[in-house]
Symmetry: C2
Subunit: 341 residues, 2 copies
């Protein structure tokens, strides 16, 4: 038997991107005619089978669910996977996990790897790069070929599929109002760059809470952090240039890093500055002081995603296009980093 040909190999041989090969094979007009012909001829030469997703469908059930997440060294995603596992195992399915490493190309390659007969359907959270590019052709293609897909957390509105999200706007708004109720007058926001959908939505919640309380948004109190690994410096600079009595962070890492910076500068928590994070991970629980946070309920999100996918896999209505977006409600976990209400 011959060695299997992959999109990645074709891309490498022709020195074009994975996305170009993937689109050229579907004869997408986004790709020049010349490139399309070249890719298609080469794929034919190598006996590449572009429609291998379809082969696995309907005829055969693998009882496997494929999960693609952006990062694995990330507590929230691991809790979602544990929820997916629990629900899937209950229904007799196995779970196979692949990582996109926040890369668009890897996301496309992962889908190719898994869809090639190994799984019955996907659960996916988008990579940052895919969100920035807004290129979802690989997802659309899987759906077109009848492969069920459920997106969670980092979703694309325009893709017709089932989705599970949390109430990011609402959760952030509740958190900021909670801080105001405990006496905070000037609340800084530690967020991510705008193309990460959850950062954007939580920023929206922060703004809404301030506006609804008759306050004004002070742009100098908003910090958008691009490089998570080096957030210390940007956070220290915020302390240098702005005064505030509360910090709301869109994740727990930013919150805990900011608490350390505050303690280094001699501030008392929560007497001088209150802190709240988003995501109730181990960092929040074991931080000193323990961090008050918006709990995202990752395991429940995973359970819901698995439930929706399995329902679709086991449904007889093959072309049911009434897609649902389920919202998992966040809740506030009160700990020691905020004043009592």
């Amino acid at each position: 038997m011959k060695k299997k040909v992959t999109i990645k190999q074709i891309a490498r041989e022709l020195d074009v991107s994975v996305s170009t090969v993937s689109k050229a094979l579907r004869d997408s007009k986004e790709i020049s005619l010349d490139t399309r012909q070249k890719v298609q001829a080469f794929a034919k030469l190598l006996n590449y089978r572009p429609n291998n997703i379809a082969i696995s469908l309907k005829n055969r059930k693998t009882k496997n669910i494929g999960v693609i997440i952006p990062e694995i060294v990330h507590h929230f995603f691991t809790t979602v996977i544990s929820g997916i596992e629990r629900e899937a195992n209950k229904a007799g399915y196995n779970v196979i996990v692949c990582l996109s490493d926040e890369s668009f190309d890897k996301e496309v390659i992962n889908m190719e790897t898994l869809a090639n007969g190994s799984i019955d359907g996907f659960i996916l959270s988008l990579s940052k790069e895919t969100q920035a590019k807004k290129d979802f052709h690989h997802l659309q293609e899987a759906i077109n070929q009848g492969m069920p897909l459920v997106m969670f957390d980092r979703i694309a509105e325009e893709i017709p599929c089932d989705k599970v999200v949390i109430d990011d706007v609402d959760g952030a708004s509740k958190a900021v109002k909670y801080m105001m109720k405990t006496g905070c007058k000037r609340i800084a926001l530690l967020s991510t760059v705008d193309y990460v959908s959850v950062g954007k939505l939580r920023t929206e919640g922060y703004v809404r809470a301030l506006e609804e309380s008759g306050g004004k948004v002070d742009e100098s109190l908003i910090l958008k952090i691009e490089d998570i690994d080096n957030c210390e410096k940007q956070i220290a600079e915020l302390f240098d240039r702005a005064g505030f009595d509360g910090v709301f962070a869109v994740n727990e890492l930013f919150a805990v890093t900011a608490m350390k910076e505050a303690q280094k500068r001699g501030y008392k928590i929560p007497e001088d500055i209150s802190f709240m994070g988003f995501t109730d991970g181990i960092l929040s629980k074991y931080a000193f002081p323990a961090l008050t946070t918006v709990a995202q309920h990752g395991p429940e999100m995973g359970e819901m995603a698995a439930k929706m996918l399995i329902q679709r896999l086991e449904s007889d209505e093959v072309d049911d296009e009434s897609y649902v977006t389920e919202v998992i409600r966040t809740s506030i976990t009160e700990r020691e980093s905020t004043k009592s209400n």
Copy 2:
């Protein structure tokens, strides 16, 4: 095409364990003749193909590596996976991850899922239950059929394959000696139950360090924790009944939990009690005070495991049985929970 039959389904139908089916299909004498015949007849009836691992071999390269880990909500394992990813991607391989959830049955099922043509070789760390049962027939079977396997961290000495471990005994011994050098006279040990190989080895290192320094092991200072999620209570009881000026924990969770208990009781860290953990994860880094720890270098361990597997996959010597055990050296990351040397 018929629905694929799995070991799990056969087990369920016949109301026996997954392990029994797996062994009966290989005609293992451990299983009664009656059960063997029943399982084999039933498998034949359903057209179960027991040797599907072999089908995928030699004839076909998937360029996928399968990884089976015990837990995903566990920082160390996620760092190992990030190392495997990095090395595998460099060599043009994709990585597929499955979780055993510390269950023997799930480990067997995962191997069946993945070995069924989806991957070229395995990287695996044993589940607690497999370590307790000492049943490795599924690994031996994969190896017998020519499927390369690399074990890491939680390994089985008796399985003939490449392995990557850290110097658990040495690392723990170095840590305890480090604490003694900073003035600790009575060092408590927070360990796991003995069937978890790394807990056992690190306990050995603790004992060795004390003995080599002419000290005696005081059993009342050793705590073996079974249930990680409820370790608080056991740790509090240790504080109640024993006096000590140092705590060495075989993981960071125990160390951080013990630090919180000490702070609750008004002890100063490190002035009154010093603390050291094992595994340099986010908890250690962000704990307050930041935890001095034995760094396990998870990413390097993953890179090494992937390198060894890929070397074997791409080697022409198909029956090379000169297996290697690589040792990743730990190092001490000095932070704020121990006195300066």
